[in-house]
């Protein structure tokens, strides 16, 4: 705002002045309106750079591999996005995912019930686990961070107790349980059904958030819960439904996980909770709630996948991958802070 010489009384002149924004402010305003834009630019640039660095990177096989590596965290990030949009956070998402996958595999293995029934059981358990988080957040009024830190440990313990430390191997899985790990060919590219399911879920929740009243209410609640209540939104009910839906999404991700790993193990997906938060944050969704998109989280998950894969192909140690992801997170949040200061 340098060079502003208008007095407060020359209102129209000031209005006109506001239209003459600097280039930086225009960029800021555009990024404010489309929070997924800057991660998209980062994704495109990183794909191009890694493509130049290593000729094996931009091959159909490798790109298909990246999508498969991203499927679990990407699907998990959908539920995480919903919760972060309400200004919450879920540390227990990975634990819910693994717990649900163990329920799916072990109920079928122990009692011989058909795979589809075991899957439904697992989905119900996931939704119920999300519901427990939701009830603690909305009824007992605990901060989501504390609630999910507690349930993270509880669900991990329940998983280990239930599984008695045993992995259920590929050959022991009931039919249908590893279906999401199967691949089919589209031209030269191998696509796994799990990736397709993840993309379908993204499309569905992008639609729901953008075009339904529930989606609008999720944003309003995250933006300012008090205002939302005064505007007539039943804030606690919206929050509870978000945690329930997120639990269901985590359980579906548990099914994808079985396909990806080719087994149901109580020890898989240990870091998935933090990875999902990373994807959401890099994808431009604000940790303060009310701002962000699921599309951004998909891009965020892909960026992490591309970096890990590209740096591996470039022959760099795995520690550098972690270093790169850490820098990306700090950069993404810095950009978010800068954008939030924008007055479009």
């Amino acid at each position: 705002m340098s060079g502003a010489t208008q007095t407060p009384s020359s209102y129209d002149a000031a209005e006109e002045f506001l239209d003459r924004r600097t280039r930086a402010q225009q960029v800021q305003a555009t990024m404010h309106k489309y929070p997924w834009l800057s991660p998209a630019v980062v994704l495109v640039i990183s794909v191009i750079v890694f493509g130049f660095l290593n000729s094996n990177f931009a091959t159909p096989n490798n790109l298909s591999l990246i999508t498969q590596q991203v499927a679990v965290v990407g699907a998990l990030a959908i539920g995480q996005t919903l919760i972060i949009l309400t200004a919450g956070i879920d540390l227990s998402c990975g634990a819910i995912m693994v717990f649900s996958s163990m329920v799916m595999a072990k109920t079928a293995f122990d009692s011989g019930i058909p795979g589809w029934l075991a899957i439904i059981l697992g989905l119900l358990v996931g939704a119920a686990a999300g519901g427990v988080n939701g009830v603690l957040v909305t009824r007992v009024r605990l901060p989501p961070f504390i609630v999910t830190l507690g349930t993270l440990n509880i669900f991990v313990a329940l998983t280990l107790l239930y599984a008695t430390g045993r992995t259920i191997r590929d050959a022991e899985l009931a039919t249908g349980l590893s279906w999401l790990g199967e691949t089919f060919s589209v031209g030269q590219v191998r696509v796994s059904t799990g990736v397709v399911l993840m993309l379908v879920m993204y499309a569905f929740f992008a639609f729901v958030l953008r075009y339904t009243a529930w989606g609008r209410h999720v944003y309003a609640v995250g933006d300012d819960a008090d205002s939302a209540r005064l505007a007539g939104i039943q804030v606690q009910r919206v929050l509870l439904s978000v945690y329930l839906v997120a639990g269901l999404i985590f359980a579906i991700t548990g099914w994808i996980l079985i396909g990806r790993v080719g087994a149901a193990s109580p020890n898989s997906g240990i870091d998935a909770n933090l990875d999902s938060i990373t994807a959401v944050v890099i994808g431009g969704t604000s940790l303060f709630g009310g701002r962000g998109t699921v599309l951004g989280s998909l891009i965020g998950a892909l960026i992490v996948g591309v970096f890990r894969n590209g740096l591996t192909l470039a022959g760099l140690d795995v520690y550098y991958q972690t270093l790169a992801v850490g820098i990306l997170i700090i950069l993404a949040v810095s950009v978010d802070q800068w954008i939030r200061r924008a007055r479009t």
């Binding site: 407060p8 075009y211 339904t212 009243a213 309003a220 939302a228 939104i233 007055r343």
Partner: protein
Amino acid sequence: MTVTSEQTSSPAQTAQPVLQAKAIVKTYGHVVALDAVDLELYPGEVLAVIGDNGAGKSTLIKCLSGAESPNGGEILLDGTPVNFRSPQDARVHGIEAVYQTLAVAPALDIASNLFLGRETRRAGFLGSVLRMLDMPGMRKEAKGHMSALGIGTLQNMGAAVESLSGGQRQAVAVARAAAFSSKVIILDEPTAALGVKESKQVLKLIQSIRERGLPVILISHNMPQVFEVADRIHIQRLGKRAAVVDPKKISMNDAVAVMTGALQLAPDGKLEEAG
């Protein structure tokens, strides 16, 4: 100093009040915020509620708009007792409030804010099965509401509310109340955060709402504004109604004197110096 009885306003209207509070009591622990307060709002009038900090203005309108439940007393709407448990409850009965905190969602666009909590869906399959919102319809309708209130400056209903000026945001909040209210509009300090020019716009809004026949309760600290738009002034003091006066018959100084307790209402209906 004593003043004549014409200065106090025994309501000239013989009509039934649209909204009436009878001996409303609201306590927070040991603090008595409202001590048996009466209030009457008649059809088509602007009733200003003034009072010092802590006089109970905000608590009073929170009780009337369902944001708080009174501990005692009665609220009548068109003569029928009502019991609001939430703002949503009051809204269903046609009472819309604009709170000091504005209650808009900054990241959502103007149309989404106007229809927040009562969105309309698309017709047919898209609406009934996919529950898809009718965005173009809501934007069109939002524009209609805005221009009906003479807010022509806001053209793009898809613009995020956070991109608007303070006055424009207030206009969105008032327009939302005006668009959906069928009985009463309550405005809590609508000009508190605004500049001179923006305040003028909001006062014009209030007048255009009255012209449409809707009664308005206006809570304000700003005496010149109150005297400009109000038909009657309800003066709150220490959790009680000190007096109801007619702005055409009382000076601003006397109104402030009642507010601060320098003048009080005598049993004969006159204002007299507090002894």
